[in-house]
């Protein structure tokens, strides 16, 4: 068997590992999970200067081989050749933050002691220089006994030299001994690291670092929270304002394509399947791609610039109100884009109880998949009036729904902490990395990966569900004087669910949409779209869903539907990632159950309150 040489990239968090990995592989990389854990595995291909291809894997950032988090456990297992996450690497690329030598060298020394053919990338030299630090790479090389290459990965400097060094390292492998046992004496390692760092540092001027000046403002007790609030406001504003034009364009394209393809197809079930099933369903969802990309753009920029950890610092005390700490802020903010990456981001939380609680409330953050539902209902039922200077009622309602989710999370978090997930409450502890300008290309790679995941979802799960739903909603055919959505199998299933949800004001259309919405929340929109498209077969082509809804639902019902979606349903992907993350069915089932119960109560309360105010 002729396997490609495997190169592992290892280093401390914030050493610029991912940027170096991106620089080496470009877009030729894949993200998956390590089996059994939700630690992301980034693997790519690169061509060495001598023409040989090699496989390269970006190991999770770690401070030490003595693991304190699931991430570090994966890194340890791979490097020691234990477990089955990865085969033992043939060569090791250690990434060091040049401005942080005394600390990062400790882990590097541990890694070098393993005895694998090793190359060290002395990275982020530009930031070190910015801090007035001058380093002697040759001296460091002599002290460490392995090749040291100077790099600035985000600016793509020194990458060729790394490739060449890796080529010789990957060749050098002959009868490699098993990895040596890692040194457990942290203190002596630390002292060795400090001594080497002192030797390698030629000069340091006490220049005030840029990071220090920025933090003086961004972590200011008063300005800091205000800037954070402003940033979040701009972020959510952008999601709606910037996304509208491309979203409108996509919608027009989907409707146009559906209608013209429909016209080309012969009248019959195939045309119905394509126009009413596929285009009405998938089209209704793909429209939200711009919003999701903008949200992820902000989150990726906040992360790669180093600001995200500052946000966690500012929010620490606030998060503690909900029984968590600042570290939970990052996954929860990501959950506004999608709970799946949000739940996966909880792996940075060391304490297992805190992690579990964060997972349980992450789905309450209004994810982008709920936006289609919110936007549709708001457009159909909330009048487009202003209630103040520059404040529209529609925007206000949407904002209210976001707030309702956050308030629900705080409330339920406190409750769960007291009753279900006792203990935990670990204190906040996090490195605050240096600020740096994110590289546009790296952000683009991240965005592309997110867009691809979303489109794949739209193309598979959502398409399949809408087609199944179309079939269920299309047959048996309605006779003379009957309504299609009432006669069909879907209508009968809807009737059964309707018995349960009628007390909270849901009509049959909603009952019908609840089940497929579990596949993905956006499908609720697609489902209603498909049903109405089928009922309106005599009308020409597709028209906007809002007009159809406004005529058929009462305001109280619409509001109850919104309240339901603040809490439920959990989509299959969220449940699946929770199962993987918590290693079993107990917590995903608990999460789904409690959120359904809360959603039922919230929707019911909303409905009956609205009815009492005469909106039924």
């Amino acid at each position: 068997m002729n396997r490609l040489p495997l190169i592992a990239v290892a280093g401390n968090p914030n050493a610029g590992k991912s940027a170096l990995f991106n620089a080496l592989t470009g877009a030729r990389q894949k993200i998956a999970n390590y089996p059994g854990v939700t630690v992301e595995r980034h693997v790519g291909k690169l061509t060495l200067p001598d023409g040989r291809p090699a496989e390269i894997v970006d190991l999770p950032g770690a401070y030490d081989l003595e693991a304190a988090s699931p991430d570090e456990q994966v890194t340890r297992s791979v490097l020691l050749g234990e477990g089955d996450y990865e085969r033992l690497p043939d060569a090791l690329l250690i990434v060091l933050d040049a401005a942080n030598l005394d600390n990062h060298l400790r882990f590097a020394l541990q890694l070098i002691d393993l005895g694998l053919p090793t190359v060290v990338a002395l990275n982020m030299l530009d930031l070190a220089k910015r801090d007035g630090l001058e380093l002697d790479a040759r001296r460091l090389e002599a002290e460490l006994g392995v090749p040291v290459i100077e790099t600035v990965a985000v600016r793509r400097r020194g990458i060729e030299a790394v490739r060449e060094a890796l080529a010789s390292a990957a060749v050098a492998r002959r009868d490699r001994p098993e990895p040596a046992a890692p040194s457990s004496d942290g203190l002596s390692l630390q002292h060795r690291a400090r001594a080497i760092a002192r030797a390698a540092i030629v000069a340091e001027s006490p220049s005030r670092a840029l990071t220090h000046r920025l933090d003086a403002v961004l972590l200011h007790p008063l300005a800091g929270p205000l800037i954070l609030a402003g940033l979040l406001f701009v972020m959510f504003q952008a999601v709606f304002a910037w996304a509208a034009p491309p979203a409108d364009l996509l919608e027009a394209l989907a409707i146009g394509a559906g209608n013209s393809i429909g016209a080309a197809l012969p009248e019959g079930w195939l045309r119905s399947l394509v126009v009413d099933g596929l285009f009405a369903g998938v089209g209704a969802v793909v429209v939200f791609l711009p919003q999701i990309l903008i949200l992820f753009l902000f989150i990726l920029m906040l992360e790669s610039s180093g600001y995200m950890t500052r946000a966690a610092f500012i929010m620490d005390r606030v998060m503690r109100r909900a029984g968590l700490n600042g570290a939970a802020f990052i996954p929860l903010l990501s959950s506004f884009a999608c709970a799946v990456p949000g739940i996966m981001a909880t792996r940075t939380i060391d304490d297992p109880k805190d992690r579990l609680l964060t997972i349980l409330i992450a789905p309450l953050m209004t994810c982008s998949a709920r936006l289609p539902v919110y936007t549709l209902i708001i457009a159909a039922f909330i009048p487009e009036v202003t209630v103040g200077p520059g404040i529209g009622l529609q925007g206000l309602v949407l904002f209210g729904l976001y707030v309702a989710g956050i308030a629900g999370a705080v409330l339920l978090g406190t409750l769960l902490r007291a009753k279900v997930v006792r203990g935990g409450g670990a204190a906040f502890m996090m490195e605050l990395p240096k600020y740096q300008l994110p590289r546009f290309g790296d952000v683009l790679i991240g965005l592309w990966q997110r867009a691809w995941i979303f489109l794949k979802r739209a193309g598979t799960i959502i398409a399949v569900t809408t087609v199944i739903l179309w079939a269920l909603a299309s047959y048996p055919k309605a006779g003379q004087g009957e309504v299609q959505s009432e006669v069909s199998i879907a209508g009968q299933i809807g009737d059964a669910i309707h018995v349960v949800v009628e007390p909270i004001g849901f009509n049959r259309d909603i009952s019908l949409a609840l089940l497929p919405a579990m596949a993905a929340r956006e499908v609720a929109v697609a489902a209603i779209g498909t049903v109405y498209a089928l009922d309106a077969e005599d009308e020409a082509g597709l028209e906007t869903l809002e007009t159809r809804l406004a005529g058929r639902w009462s305001l109280a019902t619409a509001l109850a539907f919104l309240a339901w979606f603040v809490f439920a349903p959990q989509c299959i992907s969220t449940i699946a990632v929770t199962r993987r993350e918590t290693n079993g069915w107990k917590w995903p089932l608990f999460m789904t159950g409690y959120l359904f119960a809360v959603a039922y109560v919230a929707a019911g309360a909303t409905y009956w309150t609205a009815v009492a105010f005469g909106l039924g």
Binding site: D64, A68, N103, F313, D316, N325, A427, M429, E431
Partner: protein
């Protein structure tokens, strides 16, 4: 920890912008995982630390420079880190 006479104050009492030298860390007062993380961050007897920022709400957490790294730790952690008596040189830094 209070029995150690050389320690006059702990890291949480260090004024912002000033430095001190770690004299002793009360590892037993810390959760094992937190203790491990503090060690990974480079907290250790004899190391110089600088208090940089405090969180906006309740002056918690605390941003500390240790070595060349800035880390956020909670006030409870900082309380477990005893500092040596301030010398005029470090207080002026």
């Amino acid at each position: 920890m209070t029995e150690t006479p050389a320690i006059l104050r702990t890291l949480d009492q260090l004024a912002l912008g000033t430095s001190g030298r770690v004299a002793a860390i009360d590892w037993d007062a810390l959760a094992p995982r937190d203790a491990l993380r503090l060690r990974h961050f480079g907290f250790d007897e004899g190391v110089q630390v600088t208090a940089l920022h405090r969180g906006p709400f309740g002056a918690d957490p605390l941003a500390v420079r240790v070595g060349r790294m800035t880390v956020a730790i909670s006030r409870a952690h900082a309380r477990a880190i005893g500092l040596a008596t301030a010398s005029p040189a470090t207080a002026a830094a």
